[in-house]
Symmetry: C2
Subunit: 174 residues, 2 copies
């Protein structure tokens, strides 16, 4: 069945923590973002927004901001050239769930298109900082948006092994 491909992509996706410097073509970024927009949302309200960053300077500044939040000076984006930031309107009761689903769709779409990805946390803290707020303002984003996740995207420079699934996580009542 052709759609078994979907299950394969789900099982073979890995969090990638090493990237080649090669840029990701804009049309590929667009497809990944589109997948994020198609995630379901509470009451179908679609309150999630996505900032697609491929500009190197902005990407580097966001990386530094993210690093500073955890008191580091490394690159928490692992050299990935693109960062798709998901934010959600926190006045919606389901906003964290909704934003997470957009992140999940984008990670799967990236895998399907031959790219690596990883969810990098601390997006919440990024956009609670002055620098993060200024970034939103510069884009004309107004409203009660909370950072949900940074989806880093690029060509993988590693091939992580399949992570073993922990046993004992499924309970059946049949």
């Amino acid at each position: 069945m052709e759609n078994e491909k979907v299950l394969k992509v789900i099982e073979e996706r890995r969090s990638i923590r090493a990237y080649k410097p090669d840029k990701v073509p804009a049309d590929i970024i667009d497809k990944i973002v589109e997948a994020g927009l198609y995630a379901p949302s509470g009451m179908g309200r679609q309150s999630v927004i996505i900032i697609a960053i491929t500009d190197k300077d902005t990407r580097d500044r966001l990386s530094s901001l993210n690093a500073s939040i955890m008191g580091s000076d490394g690159d928490p984006f692992y050299g990935a050239p693109a960062v798709l930031v998901v934010l959600a309107d926190k006045t919606r009761p389901t906003y964290i769930y909704d934003g997470s689903l957009a992140m999940g769709n984008m990670m799967l779409a990236a895998k399907a298109l031959g790219l690596g990805s990883c969810w990098i946390h601390r997006a919440k803290e990024e956009f609670e900082s002055e620098e993060g707020k200024e970034l939103l303002e510069s884009l004309g984003i107004v409203g009660q948006y909370e950072g949900i996740g940074n989806c880093i995207i690029g060509y993988a420079a590693e091939e992580p092994k399949a992570a073993e699934r922990k046993p004992g996580r499924v309970y059946k009542i049949e």
Copy 2:
């Protein structure tokens, strides 16, 4: 490219709110649950658990509990014969994000396998109730688990139209 199938499934998945009574074969349920287990999780900790309910009595009792939380006496599971409940260990800082990703994978896997699904909320309240706690206890589940979502699964009895995506949700810095 064969993996474009994945993008198609992502874009064509809809929240299904009417189901045929037909049971879902156990091997299909297993595949969907497996997809949930393969979702990424913070630090790879895999703290998400899934309760797969296909027993009619238990499914009906959970539906009544869910309905009572919102002060209704309908069937919030829309007649779906199976409910896959995701819970996550709330001592993990990323537990809501992690649980949501498991929900997302299962909804996509269901679509890929020809089934309908929908995220039904109020799982948190379900398992904060005495009845919910007793259910967890009867399964030998101990720990600080919070309900993340009810993923209802079944054969769709409707074909919802493509929901238009709201415009203005993407910002590019390139």
